[in-house]
Amino acid sequence: MNGKVKKAMAFLMAGILAAGSLAGCSSTGGESTTAGTQAAGSASEGTAGGEAGDYPNQAITGVSTFSTSSGTFSDAVKICGIAEQYLGGSITVTDHAGGSGAVGTDFVYNSKPDGYTLLCGTDSVSLFGVMELSDITYDDFMPIILAYGKVFYLVGNKDSKYNCMQDLIDDAKANPGRVTVAITGAGSVPAVWFSLLSKHFDVQFNIVQYEGNGDAMTALMGGHVDAFITNTQQSLSYVESGDIKPITLLFDNEIPQLKGTEKLSEAYPELAQYSGFGNFFQISVHKDTPQAVIDKLTDAFMQAYNTPEFQQYIKDNGHSALGLTGAEAITYEKRHQSIASYIMYDVGATEVNPADLGIERISE
């Protein structure tokens, strides 16, 4: 064989194979399962009728809207791993990260509403509207279980001169724009809280943004920022070891490790309506999913939620247990959406008026 023929052959084979793989991708795009999972399920032609009698008869995919290294992914693996025992079918958790959760949410919304694709997501949907991330709203999904909320509190590093919220505010008043606080992203819980505080107390913080809780914590411990708002899941161990100093608890929950820490709603009753604003984790499905399937899923996930194993998981992480479903879960979502959207709008972080999106301001 001479060089030219070889060259042509190589080109041809590459072309055919590349085209083949592309075609393969398109036909399987809708039903992603991770390669290593045993029961990949046979086809997308499941029986998605009104009957749930034989549901589930194929593998279910749980889609985490954040990457495999996120808390969301671990939470999803945890609860789905327990729920599959009650459901009698396997649930594989995969991740579709990106766009602050919009990519994965969009993926589930565009999948068949047959209960075989679950959205394992967070409150990120709250800000899709005002942040113009996606047209999808909470109304497009039916919550199966809103499992828990993350509990947030204000922290300083171990040598912090702040002992209560007032110290921070006084310092910020005395040195306008010179008190440096960390946030973890546009529209993140710390960002919303600091916006709220600077608006309410009429102070200016110097805001520095970090990629995630870990980065912000490193900066706090290294003395590069003065204060941060973090959640208990990723930080209680630092409190125990004395590496950070809790200043104000922004929730009404009793956290043993934070005993004696000032509570926002007690120090500032006028801010009590915002108390408890944080992230939550929930499993939901497309709103057009047959009711019988929704019932079956709700039942299985509720049982999983109530197992001692999952309750212990919630407790270990210092979360606030919620266990809401149906109408209660929807009310919770809407309240969160309203607080987050209006704060972003009021501080000028977005020009989209939440009222134009039909989001009501919660009563003062």
Binding site: K7, A10, T34, T37, T68, T180, Q209, H224, S237, D243
Partner: protein
Amino acid sequence: MIEHLMILFFEPSLLLYLTGGMIFGMYAGAIPGISVTMAASLIISFTFSWSPMPAIAAILGTHIGGVYGGSRSAILLNVPGTPASIATTFDGYPLARRGEAAHALTTTAVQSVVGGIIGALLLLLAAPLLTKFALLFAARDYFFLSLLGIFLLSGMTGKSYSKGMFCGFLGMFLGSVGMDQMTAVKRFTFGSIELTSGLAAVAVCFGMFGIAESLNQVSDPENVKVRKQKLDRMKVNWKETAKHLPLTIRCSLIGGIIGALPGTGGNIASIVAYNYAKKNVKNPEVPFGEGAIEGLVAPESSNNAAVGGAYVPMLALGIPGDNTSAILISALYIHGVTPGTTLLTNSPDMYYLIIACILIGNIILLPVSLSGIKIFAKIAEVPKEVLLPLIVVLCVVGGYAINKSEFDVFVVLIAGFFGYLFKRHDFPVGSIILGLILSSLIELNLRRALNAAFLSIPELFLQILTSPLSLILFLAIVLLTVYQIPAVKRGMANRKAKKARD
């Protein structure tokens, strides 16, 4: 402490899980298309129902094996299996083309093992010290360090510094596509939801290296011929290892320290180490870039040492040093262990299990990594008309596997087309990939640094001048740039020549 470290020997089954994970990781890392992070997340869902210790051992095995495995495709196919092995292609691939693939693979295995052990010892003995050092790094220091990575890479690859810098900045530009994390503004997304999350660096990497290299070789008939591989140099050459040991130790220390900085890892470490070797090794047998053994020693020892380094902040603070240690953190959460400052007091067995796995794992890596070299070296003998299409397929499939999205497949193919053009005109594509990977680290830290300086440039310079660490990093960048100015370069060369004459 010692009895805790011996846990692996009291529970021999853990050794099996560790080795199993390592073999899986090594082959996954060797396949361009499966990154170490992907392999580790597969293991997570696979080990969910296991008890914590075997699961952790398996994940750590995957990490250690995967970082080593990335070098195999770098040497044999000129496609780095993981971003940390970009620098391995510089001398590894030329070696394989000269018929010395087996020698290159063996050297890599030994260097990875030695580097990995040094990294593990750093973790065991110097973790508190390294953690204090890592906490010193302010946003401006991360900015300088990652920028330094790009400057260094541009200075040492390709024929022209300007072409290298062009590629580095092009990479940074590509990295700015997507939603800005700070303001949620969408940049260069043209209304596409897929672009909102940015271009996947791995997809661009497969395209620029895998597809482009295949096209490049196909278009050059001379290249289609394969070289018979010398298989007699498969035995470990201890004399050579001993000769390079001083370099290995220094590069491993570089790797361990850079690995300990959260967010930076093997990718920057291997480039800094390669540059260090290039500047400091006086008379390599073969020039760097043409198959110098020293050019394999440096990146391979440092990127495996970075594995140990990555677990320094993870064990001390519960903060991941890189993506794979981030996965281990979520595995700990799933198994009910809370990582963080209290890990040592609350679950000392888990704390020492992690250290023991990394230490012992790197020793087990020797036999594991020396396995299959003969078969792997044969890959370099596979006729190109069979091998090249296979690479293309692997890259396409790998691109799809990142996010299970067809969009990334198009990214791979488009990057492949442009990568081919770049290669034809001697633009180093490695700089593009590094720029893309480091772009958010560079940009966000610059913005953070400016914020921390209250948006005032004089204040920023004041902060740089008053911090020794920042000053050193800043001066390094300035000197590097000044040295590359043609007039200065000529002047230096003249002085050197004059000195030689005298």
